[in-house]
Amino acid sequence: MATSSMPADGHSDLTRRDFLMVATGALGGIGAVAAAWPLINNLNPAADTLALSSVEVNIQPIQVGQAVTVKWRGKPLFIRHRTPEEIKTAEAVPLSELRDPQTDNSRVTDTAKKVRPEWLIMIGVCTHLGCVPLGNKPGDPKGPFGGWFCPCHGSAYDTSGRIRQGPAPKNLEIPSYLFTTDTLVRVG
């Protein structure tokens, strides 16, 4: 500091200046961050995007053994009407064999805690890097576990949509859904 322009006892003045400098700088920094937040937040999903976040599906026309794909939040939603054999295979798998252990029952329960094992409702997005697994259409390969098979990096899912083989870390995601009637399901 320039001592010539300050009195000999200017020492206390110096610390006050330092304090003001730091305080002003800190406040300016907080202001800059606060001003940047709207610009960052601007990139988050908008209200109209969020408003599209639920969809109602009439499941009456889906036959046993059939599966349909519905678009939900821009992603494919898999709805599979499982056969009794498929349910039995899924339930028979011991949890110790699973990479992401979940019982079959816990994957077919709606938000009202009602279990409907014949309806498997999942987001059809591979948990590895986001491809759409094959297995919903009649001619599709279903993979070694009879469920779904992701062609991108070879992940295989079972009849409960649980990861059994390949690089994906998690089971296919179950969205929150509710059977509003016996034939109508609301997802999201």
């Binding site: 990139l43 494919p76 890097l129 991108c152």
Partner: protein, 410 residues
């Protein structure tokens, strides 16, 4: 140094003198691009900085023209590109120039980077020059990735899906970051809009960093194939006309090859799947990035763990930032480093092998090969370079550039 270096130039033209007195752009050009003393022994590897600059300009010019006809909306983007190809006067030419220009920009930059590595151009006092170059590379990759999404083909959509999903590997906040990048719950119109905005912005950021790169270059001047500093005027020639001519020649040869691709095989380096409009419900059976990303894609997939793969991929560029300090040898040019020279060649082969691994589905022997390639890549930078600099016995350096050049001339 060149004789007139340091004395302000005198301009006979009164307009130029008037301007230069107020804004010394002509003095600057005189000093930095005319008299600028440049080592007299450049080989053709030194052309690629100028070539990359030309490609950057071509990309910006063709890109601005394309933007006048492109519509960044998910229902119209694909059709607007097809309209450019079929209906817009010579739209096909501008788009093919831009599309192939991206590949040739990367070709020029990769050769430029190889040059820097082989001749040790990143060593003191050019560390910041090198780091600015790595930043340019990163910006180029981001720009190229977002540009590839804009035609809204199948490979655009699914490439973007795979790459943005990389961030979901980050613990806890990963998915929130991905939703933020997307502006929704999947790649959709908000994503396309922001990628378009950034794809238009980033090239100008690149221009800014290139300017800093050039400023840093002109402080200590260019490195040269011998890797020794010029010791006087006998070691240098003025930049103009010697290297404006040599660079100009290289640029023309490069542009001929570029034009050859653009006119005769414009889709050779692209993926046919990108001529199918994006469909969020159907994934193509085999997702591959553009060729210039393949080695990095191979590194991503080589690690069996999702987060580990992402870290390795970003790390493969990250090590380049540290290169000036990882290489402990004080000799710049590989010409005088008998062991490093060969390992540099092995690294090039390794990166090419990784590129092939990235192009194939991760099955069979491609998986262990990619893992071996990844291991070697990091071994080269993190283990080999620090040790080699200590144990290698370099060949004797020539006394000066001039002595070496004149000896060669006989």
């Amino acid at each position: 140094m060149a004789s007139s270096h340091g004395t302000p130039p005198v301009f006979n033209n009164k307009v130029i003198a008037w301007i230069d007195y107020r804004l010394p752009i002509f003095s600057y050009l005189e000093k930095e691009y005319h008299h600028f003393p440049t080592p007299r022994n450049f080989n053709y590897f030194w052309n690629f900085g100028a070539i990359a600059t030309v490609m950057l300009v071509i990309m910006i010019v063709t890109g601005v023209v394309l933007a006048t006809n492109y519509t960044p909306h998910v229902t119209m983007a694909f059709d607007s590109v097809e309209r450019i190809m079929r209906d817009v006067p010579q739209g096909w030419l501008v788009r093919y120039l831009h599309m192939n220009g991206a590949s040739f920009f990367f070709i020029a930059v990769y050769i430029h980077i190889f040059r820097g590595m082989y001749y040790g151009s990143y060593k003191s006092p050019r560390e910041l020059l090198w780091i600015l170059g790595v930043i340019i590379l990163l910006l180029m990759m981001a720009t190229a990735f977002m540009g590839y999404v804009l035609p809204w083909g199948q490979m655009s959509f699914w490439g973007a899906t795979v790459i943005t999903n990389l961030f979901s590997a980050i613990p806890v906040v990963g998915q929130s970051i991905v939703d933020w990048l997307w502006g929704g719950f999947a790649i959709d119109n908000p994503t396309l809009n922001r990628f378009y905005a950034l794809h238009y912005l980033l090239p100008f950021v690149i221009v800014g960093v290139v300017a800093l790169h050039v400023v840093a270059l002109h402080i200590h001047g260019s490195n040269n194939p011998l890797g020794i500093d010029p010791r006087g005027p006998q070691d240098t020639v003025p930049f103009h006309p010697y290297y404006t001519m040599k660079d100009g020649f290289g640029v023309v040869v490069f542009l001929i090859i570029y034009a050859g691709f653009t006119f005769f095989m414009p889709n050779e380096m692209g993926d046919a799947a990108n001529y199918i409009e994006a469909n969020p419900l159907v994934t193509p059976t085999h997702i591959v990035p553009e060729w210039y990303f393949l080695p990095f894609y191979a590194i991503l997939r080589a690690i069996p763990d999702k987060l580990g793969g992402v870290i390795a991929m970003f790390g493969s560029i990250g090590v380049l930032f540290l290169l000036p300090w990882l290489d402990t040898s004080r000799v710049r040019s590989a010409t005088f480093r008998p062991i490093y020279k060969w390992f540099m060649l092995v690294l090039v082969i390794d990166v090419i092998v990784l590129g092939f691994c990235g192009a194939h589905p991760p099955e069979g022997f491609w998986v262990p090969l990619a893992q071996l390639g990844t291991l070697y890549y990091f071994f080269h930078f993190l283990i080999l370079l620090p040790i080699l600099g200590k144990i290698e016995r370099p060949l004797p350096l020539p006394p000066s550039i001039a002595a070496s050049v004149l000896k060669k001339a006989g």
